[in-house]
Subunit: 494 residues, 2 copies
């Protein structure tokens, strides 16, 4: 009984109370059991997370690395508000997306105001859809792309194009939480708008290469495709609507072979003649250059398809001059993400060292700001999947053991005299930009050393009466346990 | 007429339409005028802001400086979710505060769910208060203190005390926006819980001193008081409820003199005898030591008051050993912020170089986590007012002209050949961690140099056919206009 009530939500407990208020025995049990619930441990909303000091150091390492590379390539940081007008966001992510936007309840007497507006409209049916616009006019941002488009339109007179911006901020989605999927998570985007040069595409490949190499990844693949190649393939067989069916099938070549693919495509309405035409596409292999050569032959009849090949070739040529550090760059015509909005290059990044989906992606879109009335602005952008990169780095043990951000040295002392002795040394170290702490006096040495260990502080200095008399302090390396005597001057000098 | 309609909100336009639908002339005008509204410029919710690249560089400078000082003193960063359960926040900020919490509408079919729950409760009156808990269970955090208390309780078994944490994240308040007051703004807090040592208070004074000095402030005052001194004053005249009246009156000494204060206090119910007893407190002046001496005499009859004096003295003694860089530390018994929750030290920071309210504040609280069922945890913390510090720094022109984060060098070229020539140089510079850009070919030189100027890029390199032949590139200092010829090797070397 008690166990059962404990699992009650507050609301269910309330209805239980209403039903059983005539039964004194149950009521006593309910009250007794309810009492400890007041001091139940607090929690965070599902799908959201706290980040501990250790996690923050690691997350900062990832974000700082990516940001420094963005800056190196001339990208500038902006931030937009967490809340946008609901009208800015609605309709930009499809019907399914709209449902996943977190709406913010109007402040003040929202219900009175809703009633007032409702009366003007005549008959009114109460439901979530009809009420939402009356009680909510703001929402949490769902991604960084739509707010960026809004930013560009709002600030178009202050911006010099091409505008290269990056943005690292949380976004919120009312998705069903599951492993690796959260309701609040950071996006890490760089975009350039107002330049159609393919140099931008090439530089994004370099940015992925440099940032992920700096994070310690050694074997990863940047896949590149071009929407125009996909359009070209669809054009030569006159099947624009089936391009996804086609790429899904081609992707299975290793598993089911040409015969399997042929069978699958015929089931999906492709003809033998279609398949004959695109056979070179299905069997595409070799280096990027060889693949491009085959594609050009297959797409000879499609202007847009050949144009896509030219674009890919230009990007590859830029990269050939610049050289990649660790990335494999692979033309992959089965890459078909974002077909609804990408109009040129399409990117996706995968690590080959861990089983993990895409850790980054992006592409070119030709009309980002059109939704806010500013036409003809082309753009291209990429995104890093920070949470997944975190998981990969943890699995591969790539996080530096000694975080540069944490305390380097803890001074331990035992009384007010020790504190007085320690404080000038402490401040001297801090003046030299060394992160250092003095444990407040009064605690036993074991407690102080436990504190150092729990914070991964690599060195401790112990100041007892003997040390104060001799002026020789004991410096302990907490990793090796080695202790050495040093004067204050020596410590500060080192 | 047109002007008038343009100022309509969408909803008012709708009611205008309902009222005038029988009048064809007005309707035509309405439709014609309404059409351009669809492409009206997008906006952000009132009280929220976009931050441009220039503003971000400056904000990062402030935040990075403060964070680096927090770390130097052993504080570790955490982050908590933007949304907390409504039950975590409600009742923690008083009735007025509760009204200013932004509530998040439940996702899914919230109205259907609300109806379901409503039926269980029997009779139900529709209003904002009764509906809120049925349609919202999450809210945006209102400050960083309550989420921190929740964090400490939730993670108490993973935490080693004393726990020194800092947190720099936005908070949201449904306040009426006005100059300098926003609905979304960053808080910048450091707190230590689980240590009653006054060394912590002293270190917060040092943190304020070091961080604000590093930001370039030269003349600022850290005011310190102690709740126990205020309690002591109230105790000797037996007027615990009037302590605010008293401090407000004392604060006017310069303006209205002792006679004015006496008059005001008597109007507020103090007796002549009261005033005689606290006259030394009203007339308190001199150095902190002299003030303490006078206070001890006046508070001789109050144990708690003397205890407060001891605490202040201990903090002053710590500071005397460590020395301050730029701050004036001033014992100010009129400082009475946060009397509802502070139980020991009270801090406030003001700049003397600009007319601005407090740019920081904090204090000690004895039962932070009690609200979540964990008793007996004492803590002390401070906060930096980042937005106000930004305004002060802008007024005093303290932001570095050349931001270290932006592009150092722009390479200008005019054709594909120039790009090919430029790319290896560009990547060489980037490999040396120099932020550099290549303007995509095809634009006129003027446009490229305008771009450099708008981004405050200090150097440009121009690559024309002559430069490619000779190998001598023209490096232009954009500030002075001076141009010099350099080889690629020389540029990379420098």
């Amino acid at each position: 009984m008690i166990y059962w009530i404990k699992r009650f939500s507050r609301y269910r407990l309330n209805s239980f109370y209403q039903e059983n208020r005539q039964n004194p025995l149950i009521m006593v049990q309910t009250i007794v059991t309810f009492a400890p619930m007041a001091s139940i441990k607090p929690s965070v909303p599902k799908g959201t997370r706290d980040f501990s000091p250790t996690e923050m150091v690691r997350r900062n390492f990832i974000f700082d690395t990516i940001k420094s590379v963005f800056r190196k390539y001339g990208y500038q940081q902006i931030e937009t508000p967490s809340m946008e007008n609901l009208s800015t966001l609605t309709g930009k992510y499809g019907d399914e997306g709209d449902k996943l936007i977190f709406k913010v309840l109007n402040s003040g007497d929202f219900w009175n105001e809703a009633e007032r507006q409702k009366q003007k409209t005549g008959s009114f049916e109460y439901n979530s859809k009809s009420l939402t616009p009356l009680i909510s006019e703001k929402a949490l941002r769902y991604d960084l792309t739509v707010p960026f488009a809004r930013y560009v339109v709002m600030h178009q007179n202050e911006i010099t194009f091409p505008f290269k911006r990056f943005q690292v901020q949380p976004v919120w989605r009312a998705d069903r939480p599951q492993k690796g999927r959260y309701r609040e998570f950071y996006q890490c985007d760089a975009d350039v708008v107002g330049s159609d040069s393919l140099l931008n595409e090439a530089e994004f490949v370099l940015i992925y290469d440099e940032a992920l190499s700096k994070l310690g990844l050694k074997d990863f693949t940047i896949k590149i495709n071009n929407r125009k190649i996909l359009s070209g393939i669809a054009e030569i067989i006159d099947k624009a609507d089936s391009i996804i069916d086609l790429t899904v099938a081609i992707d299975k070549l290793d598993k089911i072979g040409l015969d399997g693919i042929t069978k699958e495509l015929i089931e999906r309405g492709f003809t033998e003649a279609d398949i004959e035409k695109i056979k070179p596409v299905i069997l595409l292999e070799g280096t990027n250059e060889v693949k491009l050569e085959s594609l050009r032959k297959a797409l000879a009849g499609s202007t847009i398809g050949l144009n896509g090949c030219d674009e890919i070739e230009t990007v590859l040529n830029y990269i050939a001059i610049c050289k990649l550090q660790s990335a494999n760059l692979e033309l992959d015509i089965t890459l078909a993400r974002g077909l609804n909005y990408y109009t040129g290059a399409i990117f996706e990044v995968k690590t080959n060292e861990a089983a993990m989906g895409s850790i980054g992606g992006g592409g070119r879109y030709d009309d980002l700001t059109g939704m806010f009335g500013l036409k003809g602005i082309t753009g291209v952008g990429i995104s890093f999947g920070a949470d997944r990169i975190y998981d990969v780095m943890e699995e591969l043990k790539l996080f530096p053991a000694a975080a540069s951000q944490s305390t380097k040295l803890l001074i331990c002392c035992f009384d007010k005299e020790g504190e007085k002795f320690a404080l000038p040394l402490l401040q001297e170290l801090r003046r030299k930009d060394i992160n250092a702490e003095l444990y407040p006096s009064g605690a036993k040495l074991k407690k102080q050393l436990d504190y150092a260990n729990s914070k991964n502080i690599p060195y401790t200095i112990i100041i007892g009466s003997e040390e104060m008399e001799s002026g020789l302090l004991t410096v302990k390396n907490m990793q090796t346990g080695v202790q050495e005597k040093r004067t204050v001057e020596e410590i500060v000098g080192e």
